[in-house]
Symmetry: C2
Subunit: 495 residues, 2 copies
Amino acid sequence: MSNSDNYHQLTRTFQRLSRFSHLSAIASWDMFTMMPPGGSKARGEALAELSVLEHQLLTDANVAKWIAAAQQEDLNDVEQANLREMSRLHHQASLLPESLVEAKSLAGSRCEHAWRSQRPANDWEGFAENLKEVVKYSREEARLRAEAKGCSPYDALLDVFEPEMTSARLDILFADIKSWLPELLNKVVAKQSQQSLIAPTAPFPTAVQRELGLETMAQLGFDFTAGRLDISAHPFCGGVPQDVRITTRYDENELLSALFGVIHETGHARYEQNLPQNWAGQPIALARSTAIHESQSLFFEMQLGRSPAFLKRLIPAVTRHFGDQPAFEESNFIAWNQQVKPGFIRVDADEVSYPAHVILRYEIERALINGDIEVDDIPALWNEKMQAWLGLSTIGNYRNGCMQDIHWTDGGFGYFPSYTLGAMYAAQLFSAANRALPDLNHAIAQGDFSALFDWLRQNIWQHGSRFTTEQLITQATGEPLSSRYFRAHLEARYL
Amino acid sequence: MSNSDNYHQLTRTFQRLSRFSHLSAIASWDMFTMMPPGGSKARGEALAELSVLEHQLLTDANVAKWIAAAQQEDLNDVEQANLREMSRLHHQASLLPESLVEAKSLAGSRCEHAWRSQRPANDWEGFAENLKEVVKYSREEARLRAEAKGCSPYDALLDVFEPEMTSARLDILFADIKSWLPELLNKVVAKQSQQSLIAPTAPFPTAVQRELGLETMAQLGFDFTAGRLDISAHPFCGGVPQDVRITTRYDENELLSALFGVIHETGHARYEQNLPQNWAGQPIALARSTAIHESQSLFFEMQLGRSPAFLKRLIPAVTRHFGDQPAFEESNFIAWNQQVKPGFIRVDADEVSYPAHVILRYEIERALINGDIEVDDIPALWNEKMQAWLGLSTIGNYRNGCMQDIHWTDGGFGYFPSYTLGAMYAAQLFSAANRALPDLNHAIAQGDFSALFDWLRQNIWQHGSRFTTEQLITQATGEPLSSRYFRAHLEARYL
Ligand SMILES: [Zn+2]
Ligand SMILES: [Zn+2]
């Protein structure tokens, strides 16, 4: 026996798991981009079968035995970090019985599939029936995880997406945001109401929008030999690090809505494409967490993409693709793309009102998972909170209210906070990059992002899951997560 | 214990296997249609991992035990047929060690991937190196199967694609074809050399060709809620019965080459889409064999698609899509699409010279698998046989000679005979349909294919693998496979 035999048994098991994840990632991407409706039931069953298999492999008694024995082996730093991640994944999976994994996967596929037509039909009752099934299994999952971890049910789900994050900590971060955001939002809206902007003239043909998107992805360093851009109703970044699949959707009346979606997903994609390939197949090679993932996409979309320097650079490309328009005059173009307009839809929200959408969902899903409310209570709560935050009524408007997101349809409770955590991380990282790279703004204005991307590669991308989120962000920025950079960013850009 | 417990254990295992096949079918389709080159290695590894898993499940000791016990259980006809197919699949898989399954899958992915660039580069030496690896594993597979079955190595591979088919039987069928085809080919070429045809005027834009393809698929009953049409370098029909993925490729200089590819794949697709859904997931619900599959595609493409009645019906659609042209005059259009022109490329071959391409490959692959020749001998043999059959030299022209097909790249030895078996079955089936449906030709001329498709559904599609090939074809046509219908068809259409 060598002195790391158990560890090496584990690496083989996790490599195998990673190959199965590859297939489920591609089959899931296909489900949202290519699959005709008739394939839905069989696809859901096939994916559920694979998740049961992955669950079996991950919770195998040998894995527990190897993990225990590997703790005593002579491992280097990287191997120890990989073992920590293996152990986390194993323990997370071991808490759930196989029957629950399968039932949850099937209920999620069913609910998501029905939601695709229920949402446009504003069919809350039909949707609620399926959602109750999903919530039932998610609550069961949360209960089992919470018992093992000694925390609240919702915190137990949060931990799956965001290791170390708790609702106690989120409450502090979100309370801070709540203390200044409503006033900031009012001020910005009041200030912008003074502007008279020239609107771009539609239509913006889909094919041309796609060309501009591909060109921008190339400028942002997307590797097209290892990924592609397609269309889906709900944009996402999927696939595997060697083959990253991003999507967007096109509205011929909107100038840059698809493009900013593409820039967002390109941030996710570059993180994936630059994860440590030499550890490929191992848990340490995976992205750190959903919030760190969102920090990369929001870094690209908001910190970089909507900065005046970047927007200025976009003007020649936009003019080349859509012809010259008065709306493309520099100050008008920048102001047009930095508009703050409270609205119903989270994915269309500007970065100032976005936290309202997230905190609202966080409060509702936490109450739902903790058993303080039921599915039937959601529409009224949604309306109440939308009124309070943004002054908008969603009574009877389920489609643009509590039925607008895909997350809950397949049981993704605990994910929403990642968006605002990501926005805070992104602001903190951009501030640190600015300190480290004094010429950054000038370079961006020249279209030279190489130093910025090198900084991200060195500080975030290359580490995969080697460090905890707290270590990663402290090493990169000199301090743990703080909301002050996000606030400073919003104030500097919008006030 | 109920009296079919073992059988029911088997149905659960095979349903699970079918779900994993679903994922590998979609991931394979993606590999040929969507995947960027960087994804190739990881995809190959993921698919190989899944084939190892499927092999493990299929060869599990419990499966052998259940099969033995189920033979004693009280099963109805359908269950007995399903058990026969289960047993066949189990025994076929059990003959191969897991290591060989994995090695063969990896060597095949590698060879196929390299071939994609080696073929255009005419790089025989590079290709031969990979092909030798593939042949090594295929010979090993053939040896193991042959020992168990007590037959020649090549016959053992043939049996995987075409249960009950032997090279002795093929030799008789092909000897018959060889006895009349060369003379027929000469006569047809001589006759057609008298024609002076008006060529259609290119270009034929890809987008318009695609429109015509989709329209024709719809007329031929393709169910778009359960399938799609895409582009790949080498057209195929993949996916799963609930979601059939067909592909074609477009050449803007060719009027109907893509369309006839689409019609061919639509034949495959309708077979898949009409397999018995109530047995879905069970071996009995699978297509009977590769030759029966090809019989359906050739039924659509050749028996129906290139018939004068069908071609006449195409003219208004072609004119609508590409404008009026002198070449679209009825007799010219029909003659243009029934041209017989011996050429280098199998997939572009007309139905008269097609058997030459198949018999040539059959003779070479049989010698190769039986160890009578080596990979290095292929180019010279190819040239010799092409000269003898079609009077064409392939010396130094590997790209349009022995490197033109994808089949051998991933070890698909034993498949090629299916094409000519399929052509013979198609002719025999069309003849039977004509006898059963006296108004058939009139209906086709009216664009009404419903009776024809009902006949195929009742006689072929709905049965899946319930009957052996011999039973299926005898029930449908009144006799076992005969080459005389194919000969009669060619003579009637071309002489
Ligand atoms: Zn995102
Ligand atoms: Zn075919």
